[in-house]
Symmetry: C2
Subunit: 236 residues, 2 copies
DNA sequence: TTTCCTATTTGCTCCAGGACAAAGAACGGC
DNA sequence: GCCGTTCTTTGTCCTGGAGCAAATAGGAAA
C-alpha cells in the first residue's frame, strides 16, 4: 500500500514540469528528500502569513490558493492541479506565505523544506531553470488576468475563468464537460473579482440559453464553443 | 566620453539587484557582453509581440511597460527605474515580448541576447538565483495589485499607485515630493484600471484638500502621510 | 506672438453591477 | 426521514464610475 502510493507519486513527478529532464536516479533522490502531506477537503496546507518553511508539489487532488485583504475581502489566485507547484515562495527567498492553500478535494503533495530546496536547485540546475520558467509563466498568466480584470466586463471574465477551468480540470461527461471539483458561486466570484450574486445571475442566464447546466457547487459546460465566444466577446 | 558613460553604467550594475554578489571581474565580463541601447522619450525598446531576442537592464531613465488588449485597451504593467530589469522573458524561455517598453525620459539600458543570457546564468549561478528572486518579487507585486483591483475602489487604488511612484521616483522639492518623470492622467488611469476622467476628478478633489499639487503631466505630493491614509483607506 | 496640439477639467447622463434581504433547494449528519 | 447548515436564486434599490461632449489651459514650434 505504502509502496503503491510512492509509486503513483513517482509517476506524477516524472511528468511534472518542475522535474522535466531529470533522470531516474535524480528523481529518486528528490522523492527520498520529500515529505509527504495529505489533506482532506477544507484542510489547509498553509495559511497566509505562516512561516514559509516548505514548497509543495501536488501529486493528487486540487488545491485552492487564496489571498485575503486586511478588510476581509478574499480573492482566489489560482487552482493548482496535479503536477503543479504551490507555496513556492521558499524557492525565491520569501519569508512568509503570501497566500493560503486549501485542499478542495482529497489531496496529497510532496514538500521540501527550505535547505533541501536550495540543495536540490544547486545539485540539479535543471530544476532551478524549470522553476524560473514556471514562475515566468505564472507571472504572464497573472498579468493577463490583471489586464482582463482592468478592461473587461464581469460576464466575459466569468466565461474566461470557466474556459480556463475546463482546460485544467474539464472531464467529458455525456451532457458536456464537467469541472471536476466542487466550485461554488462564491469561488467563481472570488476568482473573477465580482460577487456571488452577479455570478449566480450570469450562470442562470447561461443556463437558460443552454450554454451550461449547473447544480450545487457543480458546473457542466454543454456548449464549450459558445462559452469561448462569450470569453472572447464575439457575437454569436 | 564613451569611457565616462561606461563608467556610470558600471556603477549602476554594481548595485543592481540582478548582479548582487558578483565580483569585479565577473561584472566586467557581463558589461563586455552587453549591448548598449539608448532611447529618447516616446521611443520604444521593443513592442508587444516582437521576437524576444534580448533582456534589458535600465541604467538611466525611466521605462513604461504596457500591455494592450485586442480591443485596444491599454494597461500599464509597471514603471521600471534605474537598476531594474525589463523585457526579461528571454530569461525564462518566452518567445515573444508580452508587453511594450517605452522610454518615458531619455533612457539608456544594457541588453544581453538570449544565448549570452543563458551563458551568464550558467557561468554565474548567483545571477540565476537573483533572477528567480526578482521574478518572485514581481509576481508577489502583481498579485497584490490584482487583489487591490478586485477589491478596492478607484480612489484608493490611485492613492496606492501614487504612493508606489513616490517610493520609486519621488524627489524632494520644497512644495513636497515630486514624481520625477512626466505622468499624465491617462497614464495613471492605465496604471489603476480606470479612466482619465475619473483620475482627473480625484486629483482635483485632492488638490482642493491640499494633498497634492499638480500640473500638466506633473504631480507633487504635499502631504504624503495623507496620501498614505487614503491608500490604506483610513479615516483622517 | 500666434498657432497648433495635447493634456486637463467639468458637466451631464446612464447603467453595470454591488449590496442587502429573503425565500428556496440540496446536502450531510443523526 | 428530519434538521440544520450551506448554497443558490431572485427581487429591489442605488451608487460609483464609465462614457461622451465641450470648454479650457499649457507647451512647443514657428
Amino acid at each position: 500500500m505504502r509502496v503503491l502510493e510512492r509509486n503513483s507519486e513517482r509517476q506524477v513527478l516524472r511528468v511534472a514540469p518542475l522535474f522535466q529532464g531529470l533522470n531516474e536516479e535524480a528523481l529518486e533522490n528528490c522523492i527520498a528528500l520529500a515529505l509527504r502531506v495529505e489533506k482532506t477537503p477544507g484542510e489547509m496546507f498553509f495559511q497566509q502569513g505562516d512561516q514559509a518553511r516548505r514548497f509543495f508539489l501536488l501529486c493528487r487532488g486540487r488545491v485552492k490558493v487564496t489571498q485575503i485583504t486586511p478588510e476581509g475581502h478574499q480573492v482566489v489566485a489560482r487552482y493548482a492541479g496535479q503536477g503543479q507547484m504551490f507555496g513556492c515562495v521558499p524557492m525565491y527567498g520569501g519569508k512568509e506565505y503570501p497566500a493560503t492553500a486549501t485542499a478542495v478535494t482529497r489531496s496529497t503533495a510532496l514538500a521540501w523544506d527550505r535547505p533541501t530546496t536550495d540543495r536540490l536547485m544547486e545539485q540539479y540546475p535543471r530544476v532551478a531553470i524549470s522553476a524560473l520558467q514556471l514562475l515566468g509563466d505564472e507571472l504572464a498568466e497573472v498579468r493577463l488576468r490583471y489586464q482582463e480584470l482592468a478592461t473587461e466586463r464581469v460576464e466575459q471574465r466569468v466565461a474566461r475563468a470557466l474556459v480556463r477551468l475546463v482546460r485544467q480540470a474539464g472531464k467529458k461527461v455525456d451532457a458536456g464537460v464537467l469541472i471536476e471539483f466542487p466550485l461554488s458561486r462564491q469561488d467563481l466570484a472570488e476568482l473573477t473579482g465580482t460577487t456571488l450574486y452577479t455570478v449566480s445571475r450570469i450562470l442562470s442566464s447561461w443556463e437558460e440559453q443552454g450554454v451550461i447546466q449547473s447544480g450545487r457547487r457543480r458546473i457542466v459546460i454543454r456548449t464549450p464553443h459558445r462559452l469561448v465566444s462569450l470569453a472572447e466577446d464575439l457575437l454569436p
